[in-house]
Structures are given as structure tokens and as C-alpha cells.
Amino acid sequence: MTDADPRPATTGVPMVVAEAVHKSFGHLEVLKGIDLVVERGQVMVVVGPSGSGKSTFLRCINHLEQINAGRLWVDGELVGYREHGGKLHELPEKVIARQRASIGMVFQRFNLFPHLTALQNVVEAPMRVRNHKRADAERRGRALLDQVGLAAKVDSYPGELSGGQQQRVAIARALAMDPKLMLFDEPTSALDPELVGEVLDVMKDLARQGMTMIVVTHEMGFAREVGNELVFMDEGVVVERGRPADVFTRPQQERTKSFFSKIL
């Protein structure tokens, strides 16, 4: 394993820099110029009403969506594009795949591979993308499943696991690629209420270990406890941002106030 420490020594460059990111689906402008900076080791929590563009922004960060204008850097590298003469040109698929490999993503609906066991889900990408040997990948995979509390479930298929267990496998699967950044897209929204805690606990552990994380969620308790920064988005713009405790107790903008009054 070449990358024992998922976060190389801080080089001063922020982990994520977004500059005037625009994204449209047809005529619908979903992101209307997003400027954000995520420092290394930070946990940024993004909240906002549905349709505010927060998931889309997350999906732009690993180029699952192409941006229409602006710039997005991860670890100092432009994501999905190279700049030439002031214009953006999409990178070859191979380069994009390499960029994605070091950005972990966890989805609302887990998206585990149902035809593979938990362990096979976790070792698939390390073996096929990073060319790790099966024995090495499986040793690491078992350790990661142990870390998320699923050592006993390595040979279970996703269909045999509860939602909370599936999401924890999904987190282990993302961690197996030794990502420098983790993106969470409403990781607990599809879960039964009693299963939310076990997933949040894993995420808190991860934050404590210093993982850089961007978390789109409705879990305000999580935001308050582990978030370094809270971002409130609405209608494709960042309305307000700041320390979670400050934004919760003293929201400056009307829209933020009315959003929190509805959900808190």
C-alpha cells in the first residue's frame, strides 16, 4: 500500500476550490455561480431545500456532471478539464477516471453492486483500477469493513443487509481507494430513522481522523457536531455560510431563517 496516509502533508493548497461554477440542464440553470473553498481536513456541511442545487454541485466536484462555466479545482488540479487559451477542454476519459479514483463518493441510495458480496464490492475498484493484488485488496477490505463495524458481513450480498449496513459498506468501498476527499450525497436520507445513527457514527469517526469531507445532509445535529463550516444553498447560489453554531443561532439572511424555522 503506497498511500497509508490518505492525506498527504498539507501543501497549503486548499482541497477544493470552486470559482463561479455554473451548471444548467437545458434551460434550467441549477448552479448560478458557486464560489467555495474547502481546506484540508475540513468538514463542510451543505444544507438547503431540495432543488437548491447542492447535490448537483457535489456531483460536479467529481465530474459526474459537466460544468458549463467557472472553474473547479481539487487538490490544486482542475477537475475534468484542462485550460488552454482561456478555454476549457474536457480531459480524456482516462485522466478523468484517475481524478475520480481519489475522490470518494457516497450516494443517497447506496448504489452498492448487488451481484457482488460486501467484500467484493470493496475490493473491486482497488483491484481493477489500482491493480492491487487480490490478497492485499482483501486484507485492506476486511480491515475497512471491520472499521465500519461490519466484519461479520464480509460475505453478505447487499440484498441481505439493512440500509444502514449497506451505506456503511458503501463508505468502506469509497475508502478502499484511499481518497483525499469524501463526498456524501444525503447519505442518510434513504434510511429508516433508527439506522441513521450508525452511519453518522462512521462519518464522525472519519471526520475525527482528519478526512476532508463535503456532506450534503439534513442532519443538523451532525452539522453542528462535526461541521467546520455550514453552507446554506438556495436556488443555485450560496446564500449564507459560516461556523455551524453561528449560522444556526444567528442566521443573517431571511431565506436562511425561514429554512431553519421549517426544519429545526
Binding site: 437548491s52 475522490i103 463518493m105 453492486f113 473491486e124 450480498y157 458503501a170 444525503e186
Partner: protein, 300 residues
């Protein structure tokens, strides 16, 4: 009696079966001993071999070409998807029998005995510049390529690929788009995602109709008589019939041969379907199947 209707049905079926057995046993036209003596002779066993080889080869090549066509059809590239659409349109429209006769007569358009590959319109273009010559890269002997067996194989593969393309496409589309997203997010490229993640799951949808296709193909090999290919099962059986004037027994023998071969295929299909349903068994209980998410994700 709680279900009188059922018992009436059972009675009717019982009588019909008895009548059929009576026919089989008492009617001399069946010539059972003649049939058994003749249905395993060497030419017929060779015919059965040809039928099996033709079925297997046509299906293997047809499935491979079908996968290529399905992937082309789903490509964002308009030229690729349109070519695949046109191919499927044409080869699903032409009856297999017509296609096989056509394949058998392709020799007519390669009357000089050579099928050559190279720049299109080479002679005509070189003529414009006043040069004699051509730009052919290699040629095949048309009499060899378009002989009976390979012509039949070409016809069957081209036709099968069109059907398989639609089956594979439906299979690929049945896999939740979140699956390829998750694979891409892990840094897997598109070919790898297709091969390792999407196709294995699509197999659950692809296999049952492919089993039907294989059975249909086994039976359609009887059509290659039209190419003509003569060392095939049905032709060989009929030949025995016309030689000995025992037409009916060999037709019964043909039915029995095809039933036996199809049964073997059904067993194979059962095991393949079991193999590719791994990980989907537990869903049958109260565990809900995860709802497929639209491309954009449930909530933005």
C-alpha cells in the same frame, strides 16, 4: 367433490391421452421399430452434430455481435447509434429463410471468385487520374467463404445479432443508472464498468429471452437446407424418408430429436440463470428492491 370442474377436465384429458396412446400403439404407419433402427444411423448423427455446431456457433457469434450493436445503439454518438438502429431494422425485417437463400447466392455478386477489401471506388478514382491499378488490401476466395456451411453461419449470425442487440439493450437499460455512476465515481472507466458492473446485472434480464433465442436457433437450423447445407439433421432424416418411402416415422424421429436437444438446452439455461441471480435471492422476501434513482439523484 369440491372442484367438479377440475375433475371434468382431468377426465377429458385422461380420455384424450388414452386415445393418443391407442393411436401410437395400434396404427401401423408409425413403424416404431423402423424408426428406432434408422434414427441413429451415421449420416443422421453427423446431421445432429452439424445442427448442434451451427446452433452453438451462431448463438456465440450472434450474442457477441449483438452486444456490440447494443452498446453502439446506446452510444451518445449519433452515427454509431443510427448504424446499429439501421442494422437491427434491416435484419429483423428480412425472414431468416430469405436471408439464408440470399447468403447461399452471394456468390453471384462475387462472380470473379474473389471478395476483396480495400479503398472503395479505387479503380474509378484512379481512372480519374489516368492511372491503371487498384488499392485492394486483401481478398478471400468467395467459393470458400460462401460455401454451404459458412454461408449458413453468416446468415444465421447476422439475423441473430439483430434480435440479440434488442435483448441486450433492454438488459443494459434495466440496470439502475446509479450502478454505473458508482463505478465511474470509483475511477472505473466505461468499458470496465460495462463488463464488470452493468453486464453481469443485465444478464438476469438477458438470459431468459436468450434461452428462447437459442431454442429457436436450434430449430431454425432446419432452414439451412435452403442455402443449401445438406448434412444437417432434418435434411438427413427426410432423406431416409424419401429413400425408404417411410415418410411418417422419420418425421416423428425428427420431433423426438429436436425435443431431446431442446431439453438439454433447457437444463443448461436453468443453471446459467441460477448463476447470474446471485445476490438477488434475498429480495424475494420482505426486503424492498432499492428504487432506481433517476440520473440526477433524488433530491438536488
Amino acid at each position: 367433490m369440491r372442484h367438479p370442474g377440475r375433475w371434468v377436465g382431468v377426465g377429458v384429458i385422461g380420455v384424450l391421452v388414452a386415445m393418443f396412446v391407442h393411436l401410437l400403439v395400434t396404427n401401423d404407419a408409425f413403424q416404431w421399430s423402423f424408426m428406432v433402427d434408422n434414427m441413429f444411423s451415421e449420416p443422421i448423427r453427423e446431421g445432429a452434430r452439424t445442427t448442434i455446431v451451427l446452433t452453438v456457433l451462431s448463438m456465440v457469434l450472434g450474442v457477441l455481435l449483438g452486444i456490440v450493436l447494443a452498446v453502439m445503439r446506446l452510444s451518445p454518438n449519433k452515427v454509431l447509434s443510427w448504424s446499429a438502429w439501421v442494422y437491427v431494422w434491416i435484419f429483423r425485417s428480412v425472414p431468416r429463410l430469405v436471408l439464408l437463400v440470399l447468403a447461399g447466392n452471394l456468390g453471384i455478386i462475387f462472380a470473379n471468385g474473389q471478395i476483396e477489401f480495400g479503398l472503395p471506388f479505387d479503380r474509378q478514382l484512379l481512372d480519374l487520374f489516368g492511372v491503371e491499378g487498384d488499392a485492394r488490401i486483401f481478398g478471400l476466395d468467395s467459393r470458400e467463404v460462401l460455401s454451404g456451411f459458412s454461408a449458413a453461419l453468416i446468415g444465421l449470425v447476422l439475423s441473430e445479432a439483430a434480435y440479440m442487440a434488442e435483448i441486450v439493450r433492454a438488459g443494459i437499460l434495466s440496470v439502475d443508472s446509479g450502478q454505473s455512476e458508482a463505478a465511474l465515481a470509483l475511477g472505473m472507466n466505461r468499458p470496465l464498468t460495462l463488463r464488470r458492473i452493468v453486464l453481469p446485472q443485465a444478464m438476469r434480464v438477458i438470459l431468459p429471452p436468450t434461452g428462447n433465442e437459442t431454442i429457436a436457433m436450434l430449430k431454425d437450423t432446419a432452414l439451412v437446407v435452403a442455402v443449401p447445407v445438406s448434412n444437417e439433421l432434418f435434411f438427413q432424416l427426410q432423406a431416409v424418408g424419401s429413400r425408404t418411402f417411410q415418410v411418417f416415422p422419420v418425421l416423428v424421429a425428427a420431433c423426438l430429436w429436436y425435443i431431446a436437444l431442446t431439453s438439454v438446452l433447457l437444463v443448461g439455461q436453468h443453471f446459467l440463470e441460477k448463476r447470474f441471480s446471485r445476490g438477488f435471492g434475498a429480495r424475494k422476501q420482505d426486503q424492498p428492491v432499492p428504487v432506481p434513482v433517476g440520473g440526477m439523484g433524488g433530491a438536488t
